[in-house]
């Protein structure tokens, strides 16, 4: 059991720069002084553009990468310790599993449970019950003995979710889980995550560049584009903040835009954007829209 008093995740002034991969490719800063805390039982959506550092942040939370500066704690432990204790379940962005592998749905889910079992020990009845429960939660119990190669894409994703929860984690990390999924599918996915959150008492982190995917799942939102732009409940998310976060994407469509009108009043720290809404009156949607419209008129 994780310590009750510890937050699920503490990100403390974390920066990360990818090392240079060759003589002609310089090192790339992916995250810059990111700090926020994720309380236990939260469903947090991390929203940001492609290349905004979302996957890097996940790798830091999973302990696959070490911060260049700053620190990450997961349930008060180092990410590596938390991961090895089975406190963290993970659903990857792209499922790259080998579907030609001669392995059944139940065996795949069992991998998430048995990968830390001592090699000379068999799975216990508790292990089998946890695997069966995970399959039931994602509604795949009838397909338990089916070969993994015989599943549809959606069924495969649910198998991977079952694998992620089979070890009874306390934190579930989902990396871009609804890429290419239609709105109805996103809503069904949101309902599934809500069920898991309630029944397994999970903290959930969903990473996406798609606001609908976040809205379907999250009760809090963090906006990330190299730095943290916002961290609060989704209803506080304004177009001004979104424009900041997606500045590069928007500029790519509409040409260069001005999003710093509200920063001119001295609100020049984007990591406190949620405070600006109250302190500086920076939540003026109409201003933002008009600014966007002006620029879009000049767009090709």
């Amino acid at each position: 059991m994780p310590p009750l008093e510890s937050p699920a995740v503490e990100i403390d002034h974390v920066s990360y720069t990818y090392p240079a991969t060759g003589l002609d490719t310089p090192s790339t800063p992916a995250l810059d002084d990111v700090r926020f805390t994720i309380d236990q039982h939260t469903k947090l959506g991390i929203l940001g553009p492609n290349g905004g550092g979302k996957s890097t942040l996940i790798k830091l939370i999973l302990g696959i990468l070490k911060p260049t500066t700053g620190s990450v704690r997961v349930f008060g432990q180092s990410p590596t310790q938390a991961r090895q204790s089975g406190l963290v379940g993970y659903l990857p962005q792209r499922i790259q599993a080998d579907r030609s592998c001669p392995i059944s749905v139940e065996q795949v889910v069992g991998l998430g449970r048995s990968c830390h079992t001592k090699p000379w020990k068999k799975l216990t009845p508790d292990d089998h019950a946890a695997i069966s429960n995970a399959l039931e939660l994602v509604d795949l119990q009838p397909l338990a003995s089916r070969p993994i190669g015989a599943l549809s894409g959606g069924q495969l994703q649910r198998v991977m979710i079952a694998r992620a929860i089979a070890g009874n984690p306390k934190l579930l990390v989902l990396d871009e889980p609804t890429v290419g999924v239609d709105i109805a599918g996103q809503q069904r996915f949101g309902q599934l995550i809500e069920t898991l959150h309630t029944q397994l008492d999970l903290t959930v982190i969903v990473v996406s560049h798609d606001m609908r995917a976040i809205a379907a799942v999250a009760d809090r939102v963090a906006c990330l584009s190299r730095t943290l732009h916002f961290h609060a409940a989704p209803d506080g998310l304004t177009p001004a903040v979104l424009a900041q976060v997606f500045a590069h994407d928007v500029a790519g469509v509409f040409g260069r835009i001005h999003i710093d009108a509200h920063l001119a009043d001295g609100c020049d720290d984007p990591s406190h954007a949620h405070q600006h809404q109250h302190d500086c009156g920076c939540d003026d949607q109409s201003d933002m829209n008009s600014d966007m419209n002006k620029k879009s008129e000049g767009a090709p």
Partner: protein, 288 residues
Amino acid sequence: MNELAPPIIAALVISLMGGALSVFVVLKRLAFIGQGISHAAFGGVGIALVLGVHGATAAGAIGQLGIVVAFSVLAALWIAALTRTHQGRADTAIGVVLSASMALGFILFTIAESGHVHDQAGAAEHQGGHHLIEEILFGNILDTDWPKATITIATALGIVLLTWLMRRRLIFWVFDEPVVDAFGLNANRITNAFMVILAIAIVMAMQIAGVVLAAAMLVLPGAGALNLSTKLKPVFIYSILIAVIGAALGMFVGFKADYPLGPSIVLTQSAIYLLTHITKAVSPRVRS
């Protein structure tokens, strides 16, 4: 007949080991890496010869085996490290290690020969040298006596046991390597461990089939078994059966027709693989 017991038992146990490993080799697409390691072992034989360790005595044969195993393990780890450096492009890594080791092996053979060729005994050894290269390239299990067979059998069974102990991690790694780290395992460590296992297994198989054919014994059984089933346990059972039956039949044919045993075994396993392929094509329902 007693003289034939050590090579026959050693060959059957090595085949059993090949059957168990080959499912992982085929699923993880390591067949070409197997070729790389077996050819790299040639460099290890060269080092043993230059050091004066050769198979004329039982102690010499075991010493040579030790040197070749050590060299092959280093070559396998080098391939794994280079593959990571080249963003997972194993073919580049194998190209580098295979060529360098083969070149080193031939140069060391020349150095070892030139140290003896000017005296009378050396001239005879020069003739023997060519025979030795042939044995290294195509294998000669009949030279195996009980001391060597005991070490070979113990090593092969040790590999089978180690693979069984690592089975859950290996299956996870084979099935979905990109997420292995996220589940608290270490993909690089599993890769390196399997590379070491593979290198030792290939040196064992080299005793039967030589540098050129050893990797086939770690590919054919698994490839055939995957034609017959989509379930994990049956695949492993079929693979071991194909390996052992192929080896037994191959040796029988080799003895009867006086063919070299290594190629006979590999050819028989190839024939069984072809049969599984035909079975799969004719009756897809078999693969359930």
